[in-house]
């Protein structure tokens, strides 16, 4: 069984939530072997992350070079190819970074690559059994990956629940020297943050969506508050756009946007066919509606009959309590 490594995404000195999820996934590949963390970056922030990871990872491989201050996949691919032992299994969170890094890395290693893995079902000889989703999440597929030459696995964030563990006192090992000389034919120039208010709901993983039940423009703030607490974005159904309470860019539906979130809160949305047609990828749908007969309850996973104008604010404060853990980054993958 090859050595398992977790690639740690981090920002501002704190590791991403996926760091713990990767441990859970590694446990499903090989319960006897705790994974090592690979953390690349530079400076004090890198050190902070490494120190914090000692509580969860027995071994933290620290690779610090100045060019790695900004996580650039082209450079990091080179670094990882050199620093990690050949034939290893690398676990990477699937996202805009993982998609940039992993396919090429797998080729470098001549290893198997499985992207956007949602479940791991065990090992059978040289085959690792995994589950993916295809066709915009409509259908699940079982795959086996030949890990005899190593593997790169991109795991879907949120698919692997972190497990309860005994606290660990890990050690940080510096492997910066293995990075080698870094040259790339792609250079990062700058990152332009999204304009304030410029939210692309089609890229959001969690949506708090409002319909006519929000009743008034002023009440939209309730949804926005909840969204902020959840690290989500606000979307809506068509009537809200028609009433000009939200911009058209927030509309989910057959004449609006098609969204593929992981979690969708339908608040005061009746669940019309046109609206639901914009919701793809089999998200976890929670419907909150005053009307117990609303059609949305036929298609939602969870149904709550309540007045959203009262329910949402209470939910928001409870969420804030729940997520108020220091160091936990409010990530929106």
């Amino acid at each position: 069984m090859p050595r398992i490594f977790s690639y740690i995404l981090h920002k501002n000195g704190a590791a991403d939530d996926s760091a713990l999820e990767l441990i859970a996934a590694a446990g499903k590949i090989d319960p006897s072997q705790p994974p090592a963390a690979v953390v690349c970056g530079w400076g004090r922030e890198l050190d902070e992350v490494c120190q914090k990871l000692r509580a969860s990872y027995a071994e933290v491989w620290r690779i610090g070079c100045e060019p790695l201050a900004y996580p650039d996949a082209e450079l990091l691919r080179m670094v990882l190819a050199r620093a990690l032992p050949p034939g290893s299994i690398l676990l990477v969170p699937h996202g805009h970074f993982g998609v940039d890094l992993s396919p090429g890395l797998a080729i470098r290693w001549n290893a198997a690559y499985a992207p956007d893995v949602v479940d791991i079902e065990g090992v059978d000889g040289r085959w690792l059994k995994i589950v993916r989703q295809e066709y915009a999440g409509i259908i699940s597929a079982r795959y086996r990956c030949d890990i005899s030459g190593g593997a790169v696995l991109n795991l879907r964030p949120g698919a692997f629940r972190p497990v309860e563990m005994a606290p660990v006192s890990g050690q940080v090992i510096d492997h910066s020297a293995n990075a080698g000389e870094l040259t790339a034919r792609r250079t990062h120039l700058e990152t332009i943050p999204a304009e304030i208010g410029d939210v692309d709901i089609t890229r959001e993983a969690v949506l708090v969506s409002v319909g006519r039940g929000i009743e008034d423009r002023e009440n939209i703030a309730i949804a926005e508050d909840l969204a902020e607490a959840m690290g989500a974005a606000v979307s809506c159904s068509r009537p809200v756009v028609d009433a000009k309470w939200l911009d058209k860019s927030r509309q989910v539906g057959s004449s609006g946007k098609t969204v593929r979130p992981k979690v969708y809160l339908a608040c005061g949305i009746s669940g019309s066919f046109q609206h639901m047609a914009g919701l793809k990828g089999n998200p976890f749908v929670v419907a909150i509606n005053k009307n117990p007969k609303a059609p949305i309850f036929r298609v939602a996973d969870i149904g709550i009959v309540d007045d959203i104008l009262e329910f949402l604010p209470e939910l928001a404060s409870r969420v804030r309590e729940e997520t108020a853990i220091p160091g936990r980054e409010r990530r929106r993958p």
Partner: protein, 657 residues
């Protein structure tokens, strides 16, 4: 006072002066007209030389009879008076022309005509004053405040005045009195005491003024909206005999040959037909079309009259009478915006209103054909069009689900009537109830129906009007074959768009009826008895493609009026002035920039009329109106239903003969 022809004007004799003036004026006019005709010669062909008797009938009714003008009462009255005046004065104009060059010319001297024409000139003068008053003081919205229009009105008034003074001065000299209270009479009163020499000067001056103004107007008219004075006769003679027929891609080119053309549709102004160019010239900018246009009303960038005027101005720049062509902007993007072109719902209000029979739908469709050909379809339409191509409906749903609505309804396979359901009624959950109601009601009437089910494809009505002609042809071929293979003798549909397509866009099909027509017949001959209506004040919304385009106004109303205890009110905009609900099929996918939705406007009109139930006979109208009721915040106060749904409801326990 002697004949004008012999009079002296400074150093020239009348005869020479006016011969020169008249011939020069005429020559200029002919030159200008010839230059104006150039784009018509460069344009595409249009076979409009058929059915002369039918065309003559239209000219008599709409040109001579001014049949459409009274639709706008005050402007209509004014125009009829002016037009009648002009016709009466036509003979006078020729007389005046002749007087300038011939000293022996007597002219017709029917005393009744002399009186008539004096009053005609007076009336025209007063109408000019009234028209200027309306434009300057009352300022109806549909009139742009054009100095040009007022200038021309002033000139015509001047023409009348000059004629009056000419006549008056002669009458005074001959001690006659012009017809009482006419303009000439007024002028005579004013000049009564003038000396003989002065009278002669006034007489000559008036004549000169008249002729100069006459020829100025003659030559000036082709530079503006007044061109309609000359072109109206032609625009009406050559108008479309059957407005329901959509123009083919190119006249004279068989459909099968279209693939060989390198370009289809209108991309430059010369791609329009000569009749379309004539239309651009003929628009009088009266604003009636824009006032009725629903797109214009809700703030979309489309206004029919402006559309014509812009094109006309573009033609004037590209084919100027004097000088070299001045305008290099492309037609699309420079004159018309793409948004403007896609904003039209093809409701036909503009064409129903225009007194000059200017056509719009064919032009819009032709422009759309050009845009489609160049790949410039709006992004929001890509998916539905792709879906129509692969699945035969714009929703992308499976063919085999097309008959899902019919679960529980037995179709008779040997039936002689086909119920053509079309896409929205087949697939949309809400509209499927119309399909079921339709099938049930037809069965209650005793009509055995069958349907195509999974073999049916979208009728292609919208696809064609959005310019995807090739896709439409493929749908039509498929549907036609499927229908023929069933060997039915009649077709019925509840969808006015399908109704229109099958009736006019398809060929060689059995006769098609809309379900409202069948229900009306059954109600009239007693084979369907109706129970009392549910409580409410009902109003009927005329779907554009049932009413305006196909003339079915009475049948749905007869049905409603036969329902016991049904109170019905009429909206102000009804029948051929019905206000479009927002459009069908593809129009629903298109994201127009507008201030308000058409459906919302319509719902408010219903509320204003005092109704709380809107009945309509089209699934798209129903979809738009039900949606609009919610958007307008009138849920609970207003509801909508389909005619067939209503009939289904009130015949549930009735016995069908």
């Amino acid at each position: 006072m002697g004949p004008i022809a012999d009079s002296t004007f400074s150093l020239i004799r009348g005869r020479e002066l006016f011969l020169l003036l008249h011939l020069t004026g005429l020559a200029f006019f002919v030159y200008i007209v010839a230059r104006r005709l150039r784009p018509l010669l460069a344009a595409q062909g249009d076979p409009r030389f058929d059915h002369p008797l039918q065309r003559l009938g239209r000219v008599l009714r709409y040109w001579l009879g001014q049949w459409r003008h009274p639709r706008f009462r005050y402007a209509g009255a004014l125009h009829i008076l002016i037009f009648a005046g002009f016709l009466i004065l036509a003979s006078r104009a020729f007389t005046l022309l002749a007087l300038g060059v011939s000293s022996h010319f007597e002219g017709p001297s029917d005393p009744w005509y002399e009186i008539l024409r004096s009053y005609a000139a007076t009336v025209v003068f007063l109408c000019m004053a009234a028209a200027v008053f309306r434009r300057l003081v009352l300022r109806p919205k549909r009139y742009p405040r054009s100095a040009d229009a007022i200038f021309l009105l002033g000139l015509i008034a001047l023409l009348m005045l000059a004629d009056a003074v000419f006549e008056a001065s002669q009458a005074v000299a001959e001690h006659r009195v012009p017809p009482a209270y006419s303009l000439a009479w007024l002028a005579a009163t004013v000049t009564a005491g003038a000396a003989s020499a002065h009278l002669v000067q006034v007489h000559q001056g008036a004549y000169l003024a008249h002729e100069a103004t006459f020829f100025f107007l003659l030559c000036y008219r082709p530079f503006g909206i007044q061109l309609h004075v000359e072109s109206s006769l032609f625009s009406i003679w050559f108008s479309k005999l059957d407005p329901a027929e959509l123009k083919p891609v190119l006249w004279g080119v068989d459909e099968a040959e279209l693939d060989k053309l390198s370009s289809i549709g209108v991309k430059k102004i010369e791609d329009f037909t000569w009749k379309h160019i004539l239309d651009f010239y003929s628009c009088a900018d009266c604003g009636r079309c824009a006032e009725m246009c629903p797109s214009n009303a809700v703030g979309r960038p489309l206004a029919p009259g402006a559309f014509s005027i812009k094109a006309r101005d573009y033609l004037f720049r590209r084919y100027p009478v004097f000088g070299t062509p001045r305008d290099g902007v492309p037609l699309i993007g420079g004159v018309f915006s793409e948004e403007e072109i896609w904003s039209c719902t093809t409701c036909g209000s503009c064409e129903a209103e225009c007194p000059l029979f200017v056509e719009y739908i064919d032009k819009i469709v032709d422009l759309r054909r050009g845009l489609m050909d160049d790949g410039a379809a709006p992004q929001s339409l890509h998916r539905p069009l792709q879906a129509v191509q692969s699945r035969g409906n714009p929703f992308g749903k499976l063919e085999k689900r097309r008959a899902d609505w019919a679960k529980g309804i037995v179709a008779s396979n040997g039936a002689d009537t086909l119920y053509f359901v079309d896409s929205i009624t087949s697939y949309d959950e809400r509209m499927q109830s119309i399909a079921r109601s339709t099938a049930r009601v037809l069965q209650r009437i005793g009509r055995e129906v069958c349907f195509l089910g999974a073999k049916e494809r979208d009728s292609g009505h919208d696809v064609r009007r959005f310019g995807e002609e090739t896709l439409f042809q493929s749908l039509r071929a498929h549907n036609t074959e499927a229908i023929r293979s069933l060997e039915v003798r009649r077709i019925v549909t509840a969808d006015p768009h399908a109704f229109h397509a099958l009736k006019h866009d398809y060929k060689d099909l059995p006769p098609i009826e809309h379900v409202s027509q069948i229900i009306a017949t059954a109600v009239r001959d007693g084979s369907l008895r109706l129970n009392p209506a549910p409580e409410g004040i009902y109003t009927y919304h005329d779907p554009c493609y049932l009413g305006r385009h196909n003339g079915v106004y009475g049948d749905p109303r007869d049905v409603l009026d036969s329902v016991p205890k049904l109170r019905r009110v009429e909206m102000q905009r009804s029948r051929d002035r019905s206000f479009c609900c927002g459009g069908s099929g593809l129009a629903l996918f298109y994201e127009a920039k507008e201030q308000e939705r058409m459906g919302v406007r319509r719902v408010r009109m219903a509320a204003e009329a005092g109704a709380n139930v809107i009945v309509t006979a089209c699934p798209f109208c129903l979809a738009n109106i039900e949606d609009a009721i919610k958007v307008a915040g009138l849920e609970g106060q207003m509801s909508a239903t389909d005619l067939t749904e209503l009939v289904d409801r009130v015949t549930e326990t009735a016995v069908a003969n």
